[in-house]
């Protein structure tokens, strides 16, 4: 009954204004001319993604520049799309890429398979693999070009880092790296790298920094 009464009052309450009811919609349309524009001007103004957006992967480094990846292939096993290929190898005293025994010699992510689900991130035991918010590199005109290799995925070398290979900080163990006791590279490591670079130049090996021009 209450509904019935309210209906009556509303239909009666309009009075002469109800004559304008059919064109009230135009008022709504007209009013939107004064509202804020929702369009994002994408290529010119980039709206940041959500902080935890799943973008391109990144292979992280320890604070002294050694790689965190230990080549365990857990990410490849976790991947539901079989997009990751990892091949581990042993670290030696001459070629040390990560603290500890092993490092990832080959690391490839096929972005035409990867569904950016993040299961690889959850599987990674050393937090070597994380995801960035970057999404603009993910496009290309060939299928082969969208298989990103290790040099495309490695994190940039920041201040205090020396790109691998180089020995661990003297007097530290693998554990110290994981406990955060290594905060930056030390002069012994720099000397080792310089000495090796000198040897390479003597031996005529020009190639010391690989790839990176995708």
């Amino acid at each position: 009954m209450a509904d019935h009464n309210s209906n009556e009052t509303s239909s009666d309450g309009g009075g002469w204004l109800s004559a304008f009811a059919p064109i009230a919609g135009f008022g709504v349309t007209f009013a939107t001319m004064f509202t804020k524009v929702v369009t994002e001007q994408y290529p010119e103004q980039k709206v940041p993604t959500a902080p935890r957006f799943h973008g391109r992967h990144q292979l992280n480094r320890h604070p002294d520049g050694l790689e965190k990846c230990i080549g365990c292939e857990l990410c490849a096993w976790a991947c539901p799309a079989d997009a990751i290929f990892v091949e581990g190898a042993d670290n030696t005293e001459e070629d040390r890429f990560s603290p500890g025994e092993r490092y990832g010699r080959v690391y490839q992510i096929n972005y035409l398979r990867c569904i950016l689900c993040g299961l690889c991130i959850e599987a990674c035991p050393t937090r070597a693999l994380t995801m960035t918010n970057e999404y603009e590199q993910l496009k290309g005109s060939t299928r082969a070009g969208l298989i990103f290799e290790k040099q495309d995925l490695l994190a940039p070398v920041l201040g205090g880092m020396i790109p691998a290979p180089h020995p661990m900080v003297p007097g530290t163990t693998e554990q110290d790296y994981y406990q955060g006791k290594v905060t930056q590279s030390v002069s012994e490591q720099q000397e080792w790298v310089d000495a090796r670079h000198g040897e390479d130049e003597k031996a005529g090996k020009v190639e010391s920094v690989k790839g990176g021009d995708r």
Partner: protein
């Protein structure tokens, strides 16, 4: 296609190329053609928030005969493959194909008997866009990359030369099945 194909090589053809490229890239009409979840993001890209109309391509044509860009948005099943090919064949030249999302590009996580492992098995793809699904910005980004390709598209004699060079390169290339080493 038209009179521009009959022009002799030279600075005149180059100017026509630039002009035609500019006009083609600025009025690209996609076909209304969604296959799966990527189509939702494609629709969002056309809606006011991302507004593909800013690039002259807000009209998603319902008829492939009026469209010149096919956005393959979603997984292509074996049963859908002939339909995709027919839509492509019905489009008029010049036409482009954008493979949107990992399923269309390579089969994605659906590595099984029901799904075509990459739409490039049935139509020539001009640009691949990974993501599951790619966000509208990624689609716009790939479309802008495609615009660059269209702008630089050769015409007439130059086009024939480019096609011949591409064919020669393809004949020399190692087949994917025989590729050895790290790229697998």
């Amino acid at each position: 296609m038209g009179i521009e194909e009959k022009l002799p090589s030279g600075f005149m053809l180059t100017s026509v190329e630039v002009l035609a490229g500019y006009m083609r890239k600025a009025s690209l009409w996609p076909a209304t053609f969604g296959l799966a979840c990527c189509a939702i993001e494609m629709m969002t890209s056309g809606a006011p928030r991302y507004d593909l109309g800013r690039f002259g391509m807000e009209v998603f044509r319902a008829s492939p005969r009026q469209a010149d860009l096919m956005i393959v948005a979603g997984r292509v099943s074996q049963k859908m493959a002939p339909v995709v090919r027919q839509v492509y064949d019905q489009m008029v030249n010049p036409k482009w194909v954008l493979s949107m999302g990992v399923c269309a590009s390579s089969g994605g996580m659906f590595n099984n008997y029901a799904i075509v492992q990459g739409v490039d098995h049935i139509v020539p793809v001009d640009i691949y866009l990974p993501g599951c699904p790619p966000r509208p910005e990624m689609l716009i980004n790939a479309i802008l990359e495609l615009h660059q390709q269209i702008q630089n598209m050769p015409l007439g004699v130059n086009r024939e030369e480019a096609a011949r060079a591409a064919e020669a390169a393809a004949l020399k290339a190692i087949p994917t099945s025989q590729m050895k080493g790290l790229l697998r």
